[in-house]
């Protein structure tokens, strides 16, 4: 089977490859979303700690 035949899938290529591409997008999104959320939460907590420290600095 040639590469072209494989991509064409007897004329069903569009339906098959769109399905597989969407599956890839859904899976990747489910990995990236928690990674971004983790970054955001870390940033927020670190910001809160920094603000807390600034408050505790005695005023001159």
């Amino acid at each position: 089977m040639s590469v072209q035949e494989f991509i064409r899938m007897d004329g069903y290529g569009f339906y098959i490859w769109t399905s597989y591409a969407l599956a890839l997008i859904v899976l990747v999104a489910n990995l990236v979303a928690p990674m971004l959320a983790r970054k955001r939460i870390f940033r927020e907590i670190k910001g809160a700690i920094r603000r807390e420290k600034l408050k505790n600095v005695p005023q001159a």
């Binding site: 494989f6 899938m9 007897d10 339906y15 399905s19 928690p34 959320a37 983790r38 939460i41």
Partner: protein, 245 residues
């Protein structure tokens, strides 16, 4: 067993445990996906009736199974959260909803992409398709209800009750192809005595199903530990985790 149960319910323990296990689920899922794709796209022969188009099955059926499985997980966690007020269970409900919605979306869209060349239409109001669409709305409802209610305890109770009531839809989806004989084909795999599918097609299907299951385990753990860290951000252990890196 009970000490294990209690430890598991502790947010900090869950956070550490999930961090250790998620990568293992992720890598084993990747291995299964690669094996499944190889078997499904290169080894399995074309179908004698549907030609090549049936290859969508290796995405469509695992994601449809997962849409039901994730829902049952979410509903079980909702029950635990409502009855025993365990924090981690509520976190699992929150984390399951977007994952389940994405698998349901995938099942619906790949079904549509399979329906067009085989049935000649993208969509029909067939019982299986309609009940699966209702499932998507249930997931979205759980997400929206929680987001709409300011108070976390009230929000999680409302979302939990919706998740439990929605369980009634699960057997409807499963048996829809038997109760209403419409366009969607009936079960081929779950007839345990004699699955009407050849082993060369069944094997990649099952491998992909295992891959999706492992992937779900990974992404659930990743989401849940984010959610826990978010909710526990004022606790000492959360500060330790953040400062430790």
């Amino acid at each position: 067993m009970w000490t294990w149960f209690h430890r598991f319910g502790s947010p900090r323990y869950f956070y550490e445990f999930s961090g250790k296990w998620a990568p293992w689920f992720g890598w084993s899922s990747l291995v299964c996906i690669l094996i499944g794709l190889y078997l499904g796209l290169f080894v399995a022969p074309p179908d004698y009736q549907q030609g090549q188009s049936y290859r969508i099955i290796f995405i469509h059926v695992p994601s449809a199974w997962m849409s039901l499985f994730v829902y049952m997980n979410m509903a079980a966690a909702a029950l635990v959260a409502l009855v025993w007020k365990i924090k981690v269970a509520d976190v699992v409900v929150t984390s399951c909803a977007p994952i389940g919605a994405s698998f349901t979306f995938l099942a619906l869209v790949t079904g549509s992409l399979w329906g067009k060349p085989t049935w000649g239409t993208w969509w029909v109001w067939d019982a299986r398709l309609t009940s699966e669409l209702v499932l998507l709305f249930l997931y979205l409802g759980v997400i929206a209800l929680r987001a709409a209610i300011e108070d976390r305890t009230d929000g999680s109770r409302a979302a939990g009750i919706l998740a439990l009531v929605g369980v009634v839809n699960i057997p409807i989806i499963h048996y829809s192809v038997e109760w209403w004989n419409t366009l969607h084909q009936s079960a081929t795999v779950s007839k345990l005595d004699a699955p009407s599918i050849h082993i060369s097609m069944l094997l990649p299907l099952l491998v992909m199903a295992v891959a999706f299951m492992l992937y779900f385990s990974m992404t659930l753990l990743l989401r849940a530990r984010c959610e826990i860290l978010d909710r526990e951000r004022r606790s000492r252990w959360a500060l330790e985790v953040v400062n430790g890196t």
